[in-house]
Subunit: 348 residues, 2 copies
Amino acid sequence: MKNLIKESVSSLEGYTPGEQPGSKNVIKLNTNENPYPPVPALSDGLSNFDISELRKYPNPVSSKLRNEIADYYNLEVDNVFIGNGSDEILALCTRAFVEDNGSVGYFEPSYSLYPVLTAIRDVEQRPVSLNENFTWVMPENFEASLFYLANPNAPTGMCFDKNQIIEFCGSFPGVVLIDEAYADFASYNCIDLLSKFDNVVICRTFSKSFSLAGIRLGYMLGNEKLISAMIAIKDSYNVNALTQELGYLAFKNIDYMKANVEKIKATRAVLSQELSQLGFEVCKSETNFVWTKSLKVPAKKLYEQLKAKGIFVRYFNDDLIKDYLRITVGTPEEIQRFLEELRVLLKT
Amino acid sequence: MKNLIKESVSSLEGYTPGEQPGSKNVIKLNTNENPYPPVPALSDGLSNFDISELRKYPNPVSSKLRNEIADYYNLEVDNVFIGNGSDEILALCTRAFVEDNGSVGYFEPSYSLYPVLTAIRDVEQRPVSLNENFTWVMPENFEASLFYLANPNAPTGMCFDKNQIIEFCGSFPGVVLIDEAYADFASYNCIDLLSKFDNVVICRTFSKSFSLAGIRLGYMLGNEKLISAMIAIKDSYNVNALTQELGYLAFKNIDYMKANVEKIKATRAVLSQELSQLGFEVCKSETNFVWTKSLKVPAKKLYEQLKAKGIFVRYFNDDLIKDYLRITVGTPEEIQRFLEELRVLLKT
């Protein structure tokens, strides 16, 4: 049997998504989902959707949404790629921009999917360790075919220095994918780099700020030749008709998303401050989660104790970051409940 | 710029999907879409769907639907893979079962996506030409890592001899993917081969018989080790929440699909008979389309003349099959209209 399966696939260790507990009676602060529902217009969008349209193939390049996004950013349609979640986009990049003998770079720690995608593509992994402040010093003459640069970074929640990003993009010989999954929650983004660098692409998702992880929708902005390469290798109809329509409605109502982002930023400020007062080291979050170092009680123990109370936060079983917890910014009520339980646990 | 893009990708010739005319005022018999809407229960499914659920990630392996399909076929859940359309499944197979120095076999003519997927995977293409009756004689000692075997075949619409398929599966050293996209319209299928051969997987789609091309949903049945390899390399959340739910509802209402299939088979019989009487050579269709050779007027000319009348059929600009047209079985009214126009064109 084994010889029917590609050797590198047989030995893969897959990506571990955050737990999705079956019970609804829990507080989920572990997968960076948005605590607020998506824009109400989507309800009407679903009710009014003519199901007889579903018998037909969807638009292969999500034209309506693609046009809308291009207009919003003052780009041409050819500078926009629409994907089945940014997951699909990140994976396609390994196949569009990396030769079989090529390599993929990324920071450690960063989004844990990057090494998995590189292993799936079966090319050389070139991780670059961040220093203890989670900033970087690039090794001399560092090269790769593709570099995944999450900004803000996950799981740290911090933005890198923009000038350092600009310098890196200018000197790096391959494609730099700036993963802006959390950029709507941040103090700046890198959209302006698109006009400066042909080798820079930017990836965005509807999963976080738009509260639409369930529909699987992401987009990439970049040079038309890079976009064209992505289109050439994607599945013929990668994004279904309903996702195209709901994504379009959500993007048309972008102010609703922005209002939710402001609410989350306010709750984030409370959570960060309270954690500091409880003696945690708290990184400056530019995302919808807080990355915090537990100085008194081991992070793993807190994670387990919270889980026993029905509160899920994210703990990474990884030496580099084993003292940290990643806590998604929920509703104010969820965060209060979390803080109450945490205070009890810290006293016992 | 070019050296940022993988060389094999730069030189790709993509898949050409059938035309999707913008106007609604046409008769579309060119993309094998089902002329009937999907089961009405889907309307309620959409209206009742709680959009706040969309803020969460979907189930990563489409568990509810996967269980339902496993039960239906008396298989274990581990024998079922759910994909973002069978497109995704066909593409994943090239990455799960083919080494970088491996190869992919398929018939010619067959589904024109197979060589495209092989080119995207950048491995050796091993096409096997069908003879003029569209049946096969396999070359001596034929080998490949993966073989795409569409049965019924497209664009011919015919089933191969089942004993020949069984013999091939028993002797072929790689994975045989039997693409049963059209099996619901056929006189037999190959599900029973799953219990005989570890190297056989079967791919099905919701696009044709279930009238759901728009939601992107397909599934694969096979040995749990092969399924497990597919899961290891798929995008983390490959199928969105709405597609999972609508697919589940459609599968639960499978009798509705079967009734539509019977209607289409009745119309197919009329279409086949009328074409024969008009002097066309008509292959015995086991699908929702008819493959027919134009003996009097060049196929390309008919295709263009019909298009000018607002009737789209599929013509392949390929020497091997340039005398044929592929005509999707529409509603009885659409087929009557098509036949009327055809009679006029043949007289002029």
